[in-house]
Amino acid sequence: MRLNKLTQLAMTAALALGANIVSADEPLKVGFVYVGPTGDAGWSYGHDQGRKYIVEKFGDKIETNYVESVAEGADSERVIRQLAAKGHDLIFTTSFGYMNPTLKVAKRFKKVKFEHATGYKRGKNTGTYFARAYQGRYLTGLIAGKMTKTNVIGYVASFPIPEVIRGINAFTKGAVEANPDVTVKVVWASTWYDPAKEREAAETLMLQGADILTQHTDSAAVIQAAESKGNFAIGYHSDMSAYGAKAHLTSTVHNWGPLYAEKVQAVLDGTWKSEDLWPGIAEGVTDLAPLNDAIPADVKALVAKKKQAIKDGTIRVFDGPIFDQSGKEVVPAGSSLDDGALKSFNWYVKGVEGQLPKS
């Protein structure tokens, strides 16, 4: 009897202890949903690099899982729900079209934290985040403006949504600041990812006089096209120098790692809250890939100076005066566009050639 009781006691203690040990050892489960394959060398690749960063940083404390090539819409809702049901504590959904599915699942799984990239709807347990990539665009615009000989710069774009238009405007603002005679020609490829089509768009732009190209699509085909014709190009999403050592001037890159680490730490500490994060160059989330040696020293110095100014907050990229295509002053000198205006861009700044398609 006594023995029995003792055993029972011991067992309870062991169980309690064991349970404790388990809960302390149980890693935080972090899930990721990607819209493209992790091997696209672009958007989804960048997010997966961020995932690898936190794996490296937190080691055994976390367990990460990802699902790639998830179509936006109903399919994504199923995937997000599955991740939540499988006990993930923090889920990053990394494409604009996951916005409503994320919120829908978040309502059902109140204990799970959700982070949605590029969206604008938040909930109690759903935060949003994005990078101020336009700051990088502006800097690369300066380089393009300084280095073009034909004064025509080509821009291969995907779809006319505020995010893409903001990039075009920031780039053009930089280019025109560096060289008032520049025009930026935009071709809409109507795809995020089709290397062959992106390449044809690049060829078309070069035929029409562009000697520097940049792109807001997901592959590196534009860099290759520029390399094969002996022109320059500026990449996006990740360092694309491998695709054209001579052509590649630099790329605007995203470093999601530090941002993801911050969020994971917040969940581990129990301090996570729903918020809208929009970090940029100052936080190291937006950056430039190493600059090509073909860029003259004075241009490099200019870029470094402006980059520092953005870090210090002395310039904000969309500072006035800003003119629209018709030459009308939209933002007077001394003021600048606020984040709300940046997130709803539907007009081109002066220097962009062609009409913005109505989508």
Binding site: G39, D40, P195, S219, A242, G354, P357, S359
Partner: protein, 308 residues
């Protein structure tokens, strides 16, 4: 529009149409033998991935092309075994092949993303390429464009005036009758499927070694599916595949060029052009029911069990 631009548009049209021609010709031969292989996209991606990997490993783009062809054939053998030998449902098997090929190519190629190779350079044909206009449009391409013309000519000739062409058609129209007169139906179907796989692999090599010399997952971006539609569009005639592929190529090039020229139309509408054109032609073809029926291989997609 100036003359040089026009020349370049035609040049780009031929280049854009080439992968479609390769895939569609292969699928046409396959369908002529009565087998519907919806696995084109998967075979193209496997060709693109393995072709690129072989080119990186060996340093020879030419070996890459051979590897791509073999990869396409390997995939098609798998399909042939399931769909012909085991008489599984062709539609389901083909779809599975696409999903399998897309996944496997991504898996195998994962370590090769971001690598660069010297692709296959253009090969202007001596003398011919010096002819003004025509030389630039027709004879300044890379070798695979010329090869697509050679394949077209061979297939056109094969179905027009050879015994082999007749045999394949007999198998596709009525396998029982073909079997009765001693044609080895299974062997012919295997052969046609293998040929289709080789052509799809070749198209993959065109994408990853010539057009955009790189590997990235899913880089065929749906060309396998377009080619499948093209075969129907062409009502199983090689010359119409050539025409259809170039029409499609021209439409997708114009989508880009018109924007650069300041043509004010929605790019979404322009992007729709090639698909719209395909549908219109499909409707025109289908409007003549008798003719449409005549051109479709009668036993297409129907399982055939050899009588023992």
């Amino acid at each position: 529009m100036d003359f040089e631009l026009f020349t370049n548009i035609l040049f780009a049209t031929l280049r854009t149409g080439t992968p479609l021609i390769l895939i569609a010709l292969g699928e046409m031969v396959c369908e002529k033998s009565g087998v519907l292989n919806l696995g084109q996209e998967g075979m193209v991606l496997m060709g693109a991935a393995l072709g690129f990997i072989a080119a990186v490993v060996t340093g020879h783009a030419g070996l890459g092309i051979i590897a791509a062809i073999l990869a396409g054939m390997m995939m098609s053998v798998l399909f042939a075994f399931l769909a012909v030998t085991l008489v599984s449902n062709q539609v389901a098997t083909g779809l599975a092949l696409t999903i399998f090929g897309t996944g496997l190519s991504g898996f195998l190629g994962a370590g090769y993303v971001g690598m660069a190779i010297d692709g296959i350079a253009p090969f202007p044909i001596p003398l011919l390429s010096d002819i003004p206009f025509i030389g630039k449009v027709l004879f300044s391409h890379d070798p695979l464009v010329y090869l697509s013309w050679v394949m077209f000519a061979l297939i056109f000739w094969c179905f027009r005036s050879t015994r082999l062409g007749l045999t394949i058609r007999a198998v596709g129209e009525n396998p029982e009758a073909a079997n009765a007169i001693g044609i080895p139906v299974m062997k012919v179907r295997y052969g046609a499927i293998l040929f289709g796989g080789a052509m799809a692999g070749l198209a993959g090599a065109y994408l990853s070694l010539v057009y955009t010399p790189m590997w990235s997952e899913g880089m065929s971006a749906g060309r396998g599916w377009i080619a499948l539609a093209l075969v129907v569009f062409a009502s199983w005639k090689a010359e119409r595949i050539l025409l259809g592929a170039y029409l499609f190529g021209a439409a997708s090039i114009m989508h880009l060029v018109l924007q650069g020229l300041g043509f004010e139309a929605s790019p979404n509408l322009l992007a729709m052009l090639p698909y719209g054109a395909t549908i219109i032609v499909l409707v025109i073809i289908a409007s003549d029911a008798a003719k449409a029926k005549l051109s479709t291989p009668l036993a297409l997609g129907k399982p055939y069990r050899p009588q023992v």
